[in-house]
Structures are given as structure tokens and as C-alpha cells.
């Protein structure tokens, strides 16, 4: 028997969902509100109605260079995503379509690297980066971001590729398609939604990554995460300016996420229900 859902139940569920969503969103909302306060207002205490001054933004813009870390964030997130996809697509492809007895073990092993706290390898990584001259370089950070997100990218693509029925590829082979034609005409068009949502998610993960981006950079390669953290400086905390900088840092990815939410939700729940 189907469960009957009354209007009352629905209303309670909807209200519950809104409360949870607002709780999650509140820190971001408060950051945005604080960014429109004056510095004195910001330290005065909890207040949801700011004076709507844009002085913090003006100051952030004039005193600090927002554009350079922004550009670094774009280059790092897009660059690391491109490298990750270039490695993960063939890897996930072979694991999905020609699995061996060890495929599951390899996937688990890759995922297990995500279970290790990053700080555990901070020293070795720092020393390696220092010796290779990769500290505060975009290419070094790009490699780092690729490495930390690669397991998730491979897993996501693997799940997507697994959903493509093997019979379709066999049909293509019967129809005379070479491996290349199979990839170009059949597999890629069918996998595009999956690749797109994996790409979006990886850009967001790379954009928000703060542990390594702050620790392995100083100025040249510093992205927006390092830009924000530079506001908690020895000169003291400037809440309004910090909020303005944070808002500027999260705005691009928030806007991108908003426009691609449909694709993202599909990507994250893919394979959960057939």
C-alpha cells in the first residue's frame, strides 16, 4: 500500500527542510550581512540589519589586490580539474568496461587516501615541494589539488560509466565502430552529463580547498582562500573587511553553483535511484 501523505505532513516536512537549509546557509548569509556593516558595527554584536555601507568592499579593493588571488583561484580550480579529468576519464573507463579482479580493491585504495588527515603528510609534502621548487607556484598547487581530488573524480566517473549499458558499446562494435569512433560517437555523448557534473563538483572542491592552498603559497600562487586568511593578520581582526573579502571569494563559485544546481544534484545522486 502506498503511504498516504497528508497536506499537514507535507507542510511540516517543508518547514523542516527550510529550517535545516536556513541553518546551513546562515553563516554565509551573516557573512554577507556583516560585509555591509561598518567596522564598529561589526564588532558591536549580533545584528541582522546592517547600515549597508560598502566601505569594507572599497577598502578591500583599494588596499589589497583582489584580482590576483581571484585569477589564481580560477586558474588553479580549472587547471586542476582539466588535469584530473584527463587522468580520470581513461582510468574510470578502463575500470568500468574492462574490470579485473583487483578493480574494486584499487577503487577502495584510492578512496582510502581521502580518509587520511591531510596534516599527517604536511611535512613530507612541504619538504618535497620545497626541494622541487614548487612552493608558491601555480603548477605545484595545481598538482596538489589534482592529487587530492582525483579519487573522488575517478569514483564519480566510474559510477557514471558503469551506468552505460555494455550492450550499447557491443552494438557499436557490431556496427563497425573503431575504438576511437566508439569513444567519439557513442560513449562521450552519453557520458557528457556525468563528465559535466564531475567537472563542476571538482571546480567547487578545488576552489574551496583551504588546507594546502594556504600552506603551500605565500603571494604569487595564493588563491582566494589564502586571500581571506590574510585578513586574520597580526594587525587584529577586522570583521567587516574579512566578511567583504570572504563574500568576494565565495561569490563566483556561489553564482556558478546556483546556475548549475540542477546538473550538480543529478551528479551527486546519480545511480542512487534508477
Amino acid at each position: 500500500m502506498a503511504r498516504s501523505v497528508t497536506t499537514g505532513h507535507k507542510a511540516i516536512a517543508t518547514a523542516g527542510a527550510w529550517i535545516v537549509a536556513l541553518l546551513i546557509f546562515f553563516p554565509i548569509l551573516y557573512t554577507i550581512i556583516t560585509s555591509f556593516k561598518s567596522e564598529t558595527e561589526a564588532i558591536a554584536g549580533f545584528d541582522l540589519i546592517p547600515s549597508f555601507t560598502t566601505e569594507s568592499y572599497a577598502e578591500v579593493q583599494s588596499q589589497y589586490n583582489y584580482f590576483k588571488p581571484f585569477l589564481n583561484s580560477v586558474l588553479l580550480s580549472v587547471g586542476s580539474t582539466v588535469i584530473a579529468l584527463a587522468i580520470a576519464i581513461p582510468a574510470a573507463w578502463s575500470m568500468a568496461f574492462s574490470p579485473t579482479r583487483r578493480t574494486k580493491d584499487i577503487l577502495m585504495w584510492m578512496l582510502s587516501t581521502k580518509m587520511m588527515p591531510a596534516v599527517a603528510v604536511l611535512f613530507p609534502m612541504y619538504i618535497i615541494f620545497r626541494d622541487l621548487g614548487l612552493l608558491d607556484s601555480r603548477i605545484g598547487l595545481m598538482i596538489m589539488l589534482t592529487m587530492i581530488n582525483l579519487p573522488i573524480v575517478v569514483w564519480m566517473l566510474y559510477t557514471y560509466f558503469r551506468e552505460i549499458p555494455g550492450e550499447i558499446l557491443e552494438a557499436a562494435r557490431m556496427d563497425g565502430a573503431s575504438l576511437w569512433n566508439e569513444i567519439v560517437y557513442v560513449l562521450t555523448p552519453m557520458a557528457v552529463p556525468g563528465i559535466a557534473s564531475t567537472m563542476l563538483l571538482n571546480i567547487i572542491l578545488a576552489w574551496n580547498e583551504a588546507f594546502w592552498t594556504i600552506r603551500l603559497t605565500t603571494t604569487d600562487a595564493a588563491p582566494l582562500t589564502a586571500f581571506i586568511s590574510s585578513f586574520s593578520s597580526p594587525q587584529g581582526l577586522f570583521w567587516a573587511k574579512l566578511s567583504a573579502a570572504s563574500t568576494l571569494a565565495i561569490a563566483p563559485i556561489l553564482i556558478m553553483g546556483w546556475f548549475s544546481q540542477k546538473q550538480l544534484v543529478r551528479g551527486l545522486t546519480f545511480g542512487a535511484v534508477k
Binding site: 549499458p165 557491443e170 552494438a171 557490431m174 556496427d175 569512433n181 560517437y185
Partner: protein
């Protein structure tokens, strides 16, 4: 042309033997059905012919050419899959055109062949739709369309109707048979449904545990099953198989008699029993008779027959139609 010869074909996955050793000759233009229970190796055999699986040993030749090591596309065969395996992102026209495009045909030729196939298969109005917007039967026709444009030397069908409902299955069965009459191309058809096998085939290959049990025309298999397996598998309803004293009396381990070869009487006959379930199909009535030590026997009676549950009846087998099987299961 589409003459296919399998010589000592063997297939195993690791240590699991799927097909011990098979020899089979398929003539040009024949409609051959591979039939057998699930896991009997019939689909594997078809995939070996298609080239989608590698042969572990033996040779497969098409029109005298050894294709054992050839890639699927180089064998000149077309396949229709159980799941249709259409390209979901392409329109019907593009799906049908795909093998032609891969073969490097000119756009004009492709257009003409696609239109021809669509006309034969009643798909002309659906050419711009995508597979997702079609019904099961239409999708199956697109899959067939994709196969016929290539002008293959043989068609391979892997349980193509098992995803369709009963009514549509009947219609598509006729359409495929009709297509075979028109094209006169070799067709190899895999099914577990013996009704499909009986109604469509020129030649049936009955498979069991990777071995060929018997090869022959539908009526040949029906009338002269070579062993117990074929006797029990071919025919619907199944042949009645009886062991014990009645079989011993006739010098056999098992005797078999089809439901239509048992005469039913309410007053006299060889075997006595009581009426169990009666299945009325209109023209015929199938009566299940509990005949003591013989077990339950299925008897075909006329559509008008009136019998009550528990009523005593007598059965008499037609001696000329009685099948005798020895201890090894082979017909005597």
C-alpha cells in the same frame, strides 16, 4: 550469402567450461533457433559467432572464410540485442544510419537506405524521434532497422522479444518471420521460449549445458525427440513422462506420451485416474488426471468436454505415438 560453420568450438571462462565442444552447420538463408533453458550457453554461442566473445578453441567460418579471430565488424553480421541497445542520444534516423556512417557511405546512400528501412519497418513517421520517445515494439523495430541497412550475410537475434508484453511478442514474431521471407537472409535467433522456436524456425538447435542435444526441423524434434531432455523441452504443454511398471512393461526406463495422444474416456481404458485441474482454452481443454502410480498426466480433450473435479476417468495411449527412452535417457 550466409553459410556459417562451427567446428569443434569450445568456450571456457577461466576454469568454467561453458561450451565443451560444438559442431554445427548453418545453411545460407536458414532461420535457425538456438533454444534451451537459462544458462545452457545459447547466448554465449551467439556471441562467439558475433565475435563479441573470443573462442577458446575451434574455428568459426562464414561462407568458407575463417573468421575465428576477426573483429565483430569484419564478420559481416548484424545483431539485435535483448535490450535493443539503441544509442539514446541519437534520433531514430541517426541510429539506423550509424553502421552506414561507420562504413563510410555517402550521405545520399545513407539517406536512401534509411528511408528504405524505415518504410519496411513502418518507422517513417518516427525518424526524428529519440529512442526514449518510442514504445518497446518501435524500439525493437529500430534495432532491426539498424541491422538490415548493413545488408549483412546473417542476422543474429539475442532474445529480442523477451522485454515485450505477450500480445506484442506475438506480433513481432510474425514481423520477424515475414522479414525473413522477404530478405531470405540467414537468421540465428536465440530464445528460451520453445513456442518462439517452434513457430519461427526452419531448424531448431536444442542446447543443454553447452551441448547440442538435437538439431532438426520443429516437427522433426516434436515427433522424434532423440532424448528425454528434448522430449521434455519441446512441446507445450509438455510431454507426459512416465517411469516405473508401465515403462518396464514396454521394455524402457521411461515412456513419454504427448497430451494429444492420450484418449480420454469416462467408462473404459488402460489407465484409471481422477480429474484434477481442467484448463479451458476454448478450442481445447487440458485435463490434469491423477493416475495413481503414473503420476499426474496432462490430456488434451475437446473444448466442449464436461468433467467434474474428482470424477473417475480412463486414459488410453496411442501405441504408435508412444516414445520409449532407455536408462541413458536416449530414445529407443
Amino acid at each position: 550469402m550466409g553459410q556459417i560453420t562451427l567446428t569443434d568450438v569450445h568456450k571456457s571462462f577461466g576454469s568454467t567450461v561453458i561450451i565443451p565442444k560444438i559442431n554445427l552447420e548453418i545453411e545460407d538463408g536458414e532461420f535457425v533457433v538456438f533454444v534451451g533453458p537459462s544458462g545452457c550457453g545459447k547466448s554465449t554461442l551467439l556471441r562467439l559467432i558475433a565475435g563479441l566473445e573470443d573462442t577458446s578453441a575451434g574455428t568459426i567460418s562464414i561462407d568458407g572464410r575463417d573468421v575465428t579471430q576477426a573483429a565483430p565488424a569484419k564478420r559481416g553480421l548484424a545483431m539485435v540485442f535483448q535490450s535493443y541497445a539503441l544509442y539514446p542520444h541519437m534520433t531514430v534516423a541517426k541510429n539506423i544510419a550509424f553502421p552506414l556512417k561507420m562504413a563510410g557511405e555517402s550521405p545520399e546512400t545513407i539517406e536512401r537506405k534509411v528511408q528504405d528501412a524505415a518504410r519496411v519497418l513502418n518507422l517513417t513517421n518516427y525518424l526524428e524521434r529519440r529512442p526514449g520517445q518510442l514504445s518497446g515494439g518501435q524500439r525493437q523495430r529500430v534495432a532491426i532497422g539498424r541491422a538490415i541497412v548493413r545488408n549483412p550475410s546473417a542476422f543474429l537475434f539475442d532474445e529480442p522479444l523477451s522485454n515485450l508484453d505477450a500480445a506484442l511478442r506475438g506480433t513481432m514474431r510474425l514481423e520477424i518471420s515475414e522479414l525473413h521471407q522477404q530478405l531470405k537472409t540467414t537468421m540465428i535467433y536465440v530464445t528460451h521460449d520453445q513456442v518462439e522456436a517452434m513457430t519461427m524456425a526452419d531448424k531448431i538447435v536444442v542446447l543443454n549445458a553447452g551441448n547440442i542435444e538435437q538439431v532438426g526441423s520443429p516437427l522433426d524434434l516434436y515427433r522424434n525427440p532423440k532424448n528425454l531432455f528434448v522430449a521434455g523441452f519441446i512441446g507445450s504443454p509438455k510431454m507426459n513422462l512416465i517411469e516405473g511398471a508401465e515403462a518396464d512393461k514396454r521394455g524402457a526406463k521411461t515412456i513419454g506420451i504427448r497430451p494429444e495422444h492420450l484418449a480420454l474416456s469416462t467408462d473404459k481404458g488402460d489407465w484409471k485416474g481422477t480429474v484434477g485441474v481442467t484448463e479451458r482454452l476454448g478450442a481445447d481443454t487440458f485435463v490434469h488426471v491423477h493416475a495413481n502410480s503414473l503420476g499426474t498426466l496432462n490430456v488434451r480433450a475437446g473444448g466442449e468436454v464436461q468433467l467434474d473435479h474428482g470424477q473417475t476417468v480412463f486414459l488410453t495411449p496411442d501405441p504408435a505415438k508412444l516414445h520409449r527412452f532407455g536408462a541413458d535417457g536416449k530414445a529407443m
